[in-house]
Symmetry: C2
Subunit: 108 residues, 2 copies
DNA sequence: TTGGGTACTACGCAAAGCATAATAGCACGG
DNA sequence: CCGTGCTATTATGCTTTGCGTAGTACCCAA
């Protein structure tokens, strides 16, 4: 991986996860599959699971364990009220950032 | 500072610096002033100088020292050929990322 | 019984942002 | 003559993140 791409993603994957969950409850493995469909992200399990734990510890996500039809039980995550607020903030900031970068790239 | 914002910037500031230098030669202090004008970034000296050193070590920037009218000598940075290539790559990736995020945020 | 898909956890490294502080030269007012 | 403030850079150390690697565990089909 190209190094600078890895760095560009820092924090961004958190935004992605929260946005996926904005559409409704989901569990780790499914979220990974979902994000893998976006080639620009090309994310892996070892990246997503720690983020989910962290967001849960921060009180942005809540968990519900459900037995799986195959494999260990699924941990369904969904947004808490704080989580919904956070994702709104993040999307707003991302929007601003996009505009600022656009100007910068076009030499202002 | 809000933590998640700090993380979102990782790698991005590098892109910003290179884009500022795409307009022509500049030195650390001036670049900081330039980026401070963009409130979304609100960058500080201790962030910018290490990035400049790093980019130079990677061969993306070249340096020219010039005595300053006030204070220590200025270190003027400019893009090398590799630097110009890199900034083009980065801008392209940023564009893709913006599109992918846009879809994600709008619920696909 | 062996391979493959599902599903999660744990360990540890490298890199980035940033706070803090130190250094240093010039100009201006009192 | 001395302090304050602007210019301009360097050094140190902390925290967090992404991610490679590895391990655990369950089910089903060939």
């Amino acid at each position: 991986m190209d190094g600078w791409i890895t760095q560009l993603r820092k924090g961004l994957l958190e935004v992605c996860l929260l946005n996926v969950l904005r559409r409704g409850e989901s569990y780790g493995y499914e979220i990974v599959q979902e994000l893998k469909r976006i080639e620009e992200l090309a994310v892996s399990e070892s990246t997503v699971y720690p983020i989910l734990s962290r967001l849960r510890n921060e009180g942005l996500l809540k968990v519900r364990d459900v037995p799986s039809p195959a494999g260990p039980p699924r941990r369904y995550f969904s947004l808490t009220v704080a989580g919904k607020l956070r994702v709104a903030e993040m999307n707003a900031y991302w929007e601003l950032l996009g505009q600022a970068m656009g100007k910068l790239i076009q030499g202002k």
